[in-house]
Amino acid sequence: MKLLDMTRKYGNATYEYPFAPYDVADGFRGKPEYDYDKCIGCTACGVACPSNAINVELNEAKDKLVWKFDCGRCIYCGRCDEVCPTNAVMLGSNFETAVRFNKEDLTESAELELECCQNCGKKFTTKRLIAYCIENFKKVGWSESVIQEKTKYIKTCPVCKKADSVELVSKHFSKGVKK
């Protein structure tokens, strides 16, 4: 009987949803929202994602970097949000994510253009990432000559950088031997 008293005391507990919108709590971990204009293609989210819901890889023709997100695999941990340097991926509050008949509707993808290495001409990273780095150099307050030098460095692909530094080291090494 006491239970029935309780029922009377607390009355109707049902949420109105879906007849009225449901407000999620502050800081709710909903679907990650992607801002294409902010993405620089640094692949941090792809590396961090524990469930591989975000994959960043080259397209088949190897001329564009493709950022791919599969909402169906997302575990809403917010690692992408945490690691993104430009806030291009942020967890939103969207929970209405179900789809019917077409699984493709769960996916989102974005293409970014690639920059060529100034030495070997191979494509190695996105143009936006290079632009972002240069922009940062300026905001850090470096002088024009330093920026020039650093820009040259970041426009070289890792393979050439490695070759360059090997060359540099061996040059100094041979100098040392001569002396």
Partner: protein, 282 residues
């Protein structure tokens, strides 16, 4: 890819999309759902359970859990389909009357989730049997569940659509100007804020603090900086933010200022003392 179940023609012939839409039209006001746990972590089960309680009450739309796949219109499958659950799942699938609607529930049910390539799973329900509706989430919120089932039977409209971004500019995103003329200051504020308050609240703290600092008239004068920051802090309602802003001033602002000026970091006129910090909680 290993060879798995192939749907027998007598079942697939009765399960064309038109048949399913016809069924959905018929069951709009009352539909029976049978739950199959294909090796999920139980998070999804609990949320299904929570969403059938009076708080969410899906019986308002005729949602009814049934005890037997033979009574079911909709099969609600959770979990990445473990090897051991593969056979029971197929038994239940074949037992359900045709046409049947299969729902892949949760991240695991939809795509295998974090277990998508484990040796003892098949990586999602749709790798084994045809799936019609996907409800992502890990686990899905009861509201997502209600939304998903309402979408499945066509009461609500689907909101997500496939998105493809192409041909954007090659410009870098905008970087705010630094108050010190060196963005490393803002970066360090962010880093320190995250160590104190995590990625979410830390971002907010960073915003509040940099806003406060940018409103300071003479950034190179630590005494007036402290005063104007104190004004902002007094207006802040949340004690934890108050405390963290003081720490940011001491640890990051003064450290950066030291590069321009010779100051004593422990001078109570320019830094926040221990006593002042304790006051933050009053």
């Amino acid at each position: 890819m290993s060879k798995t179940y192939v749907v027998p023609t007598e079942i697939s012939e009765l399960n064309r999309v038109e048949d399913k839409l016809e069924l959905l039209k018929d069951i709009k006001r009352s539909f029976s759902v049978y739950r199959i746990d294909c090796g999920s972590c139980n998070g999804c089960e609990i949320e299904i359970f929570a969403s059938i309680t009076p708080m969410w009450d899906p019986e308002r739309f005729g949602f009814k859990l049934v005890a037997n796949p033979r009574h079911a219109d909709i099969l609600l499958c959770t979990g990445p389909v473990t090897r051991q659950m593969y056979y029971p799942l197929l038994r239940a699938y074949e037992a359900a009357p045709d046409p049947k609607i299969v729902v892949g529930y949760g991240a695991c049910g939809s795509t295998g989730g974090i277990f998508h390539d484990c040796y003892s799973t098949w990586g999602g329900v749709d790798k084994v049997i045809p799936v019609d509706v996907w409800i992502p989430g890990c686990p899905p919120h009861p509201a997502s569940t209600i939304y998903g089932l309402a979408t499945a039977i066509g009461i609500l409209d689907q909101k997500l659509k496939k998105v493809e971004h192409k041909d954007g500019s090659n410009e870098a995103p905008v970087i705010e100007k630094s108050v010190f003329g060196n963005t490393l200051f803002e970066r360090e504020v962010m880093e320190r804020a995250r160590v104190m308050m995590g990625y979410l609240h830390g971002r907010e703290l960073h915003k509040v603090f940099t806003k406060a600092v940018s409103s300071i008239k003479d950034i190179y004068n630590p005494v007036s900086s402290k005063k104007s920051l104190l004004e902002v802090i007094k207006k802040e309602e949340d004690p934890r933010f108050r405390e963290c802003m003081m720490i940011l001033h001491n640890d990051v602002y003064l450290k950066h200022l030291k590069r321009f000026k010779n100051i004593d970091k422990c001078n109570p006129a320019i830094c926040f003392t221990k006593e002042e910090m304790e006051l933050a909680y009053d």
